[in-house]
Amino acid sequence: MNWPLKKKNNGDGNSNGHIIEMLGITKVYDTGKIQVEALKGIDLVVDKGEFVAVVGPSGSGKSTLLNLVGCLDTPSGGTYMLGGEAVAGLDRDQLADVRNRRVGFVFQNFNLLPQLTALENVEMPMLFGGMGRRERRRRAKEHLDRVGLGDRVEHRPTELSGGQMQRVAIARALAMEPDIVLADEPTGNLDTGSGSDVMSLMTELWGQGRTLVVVTHDKTLASRAGRVVEIRDGVVVTDERAVA
């Protein structure tokens, strides 16, 4: 299915409702001897409030796509607008600011900072965002409350279960109220029980009107999404919306 690209607007980025606008995105890894084409022309438009599952076999380019969406990496070709803002040509610190304000990351192995408490982990993006200490604390507590960990604020990652760690990570991802939450196999390292907890949490976030892009092998998780994009060999092969 093709999604018609609307004209780029100037100024207010989200007025057309597109959070992600990717057109002809390619990514080539130059390993010196050989060039690996990980993405071969991806067109992808995601609107505000969508829950998109990106599926595909290993090595298909899912994670590369997610890194580009999250501005962890820059495309080799094509145009990418995130929240109406062109990402090309930004320097490292500017990209860091874009990630900080617009993107929340959730990783398969949680990637919490081990020496910090749950609260401090959630505070971290707000620290980078230049928020004052008191405001950070208040918001971090709120976010932890929302993911059901209001009683674990002073715990360090090693004192938490996998499911709890992932919920802290989700609270961290939401800390700056980003345009989009990106998750890379968020249930991949969790047992079934914790996995379904996290899935429910993601569904709940979607219900609150948040935009989510989730890379997953997990069919159950993918089935909860409103839209499934399948990638194979660096191109989108199917793009299906669930019938509401």
């Binding site: 962890l72 610190d93 600011d97 398969q108 990637n111 919490l112 900072l113 020496q115 980078f128 965002g129």
Partner: protein, 418 residues
Amino acid sequence: MGRDFSVIATLFFKASSLQKKRAILTVAAIAWGTVAILMLLAFGEGLRHQMVKARRGMGQNIAVWWSGETSKVWQGLPEGRRIQARLDDLDYLRAKMPSSTGILGEMTSWQTTLTWGTTTITGRVTGANWEYGEMRHHYPQAGGRFFNANDQRDKKRVIFLGNQLAEDIFGEVNPVGEILQVASVPYLVIGVLNPKLQMGTYKGPDEMGAVIPITTFSAQWSRQWLHNVVFKVGVAEDMPRAREEFAQALSAKYRFDPADEQVTALWDTAEGGKTLAAEMRRFQIFLGIIGALTLLVGGIGVANIMYAVVKEKTREIGVQMAIGAHRSWITGPFVLQGMTYTLLGGAFGLVVAIILVLLFQLVPVEGNDAIAFLGKPTLSAEIAVSTAALLGFIGILAGYFPARRAATVDPAETLRYE
């Protein structure tokens, strides 16, 4: 800027939980290096003080002139004339040398028989003006004195002995008040030299000679010509002018070219002092370099550990970048950490060095030749400042290079797990 600082400070305080054993070893390495450099510099400083003191043992800011032979034809007079000052030139020179604060003449008799009771030895006897005591640092031991202007005017037969010479003749007996036969003429011993550290000599060490009033000497040996002339200036800077005045006055009287250095060449201890100071400075720099290298090794240790930390924390660095850390917020805490370890080690080292220096102050000098010659280690503000600057520099380097490594972490690469 303010935000950068608060972020870096926050991250630094949150993240500085390095393994304790590593941290302690790192700090110890820096502390050791600091002790090494401080003690080397302190010993150098002590030695410098001692050298300067020893140099001054002979007298401070003095010049010694013996005699000379003209090497240039001058006003119709031939070259090769011997120029030697006489006793009665001293008043003339004193009048013509306003830059000088003192001038005296010396006459010397070598291998003079000195007899006390049944003991006879031969020694050096110098006839000098009474100012010699002060200008040539001939300070008496308690119970004795140097001869004065009256002794000189009255041609008194009084003698002042070097401490070693006194011991050779009198042994355990107090020489002051004893009668000593000098070339069969009786002299009253009035004083013995207080032992002193002396580096420069021109007749032999002062402790081995005897001094009598120049007038007495002149009468006993029927001599007018001076073996050498000594003059003094108040501050070293006055010496070149005093030398010029000396050359002018002498050349005017004996009719030779004042620029004839064959005649006017003399031993300028003020100049020699400058050379010594420069040499000691070079020596201290040499010691400092050795210490600095030790400290540098410690710094490399810090950098090494910081590299290991960066490697261990690669994933955490990637995560911080992913959630929006600027490059400087990643590098800043590492630089701070390297600085902290270095400065902490430096502080420990400083404390240890101060304790060592204080302990050395307690060691008695008496009977300890090594300490008497080398002096005691001394710390100075200069040493402290240069060591602190070096520590800061090494600390920055020790943190900077690992931090630069941290900044090159590619978050996309780091967070990939497939």
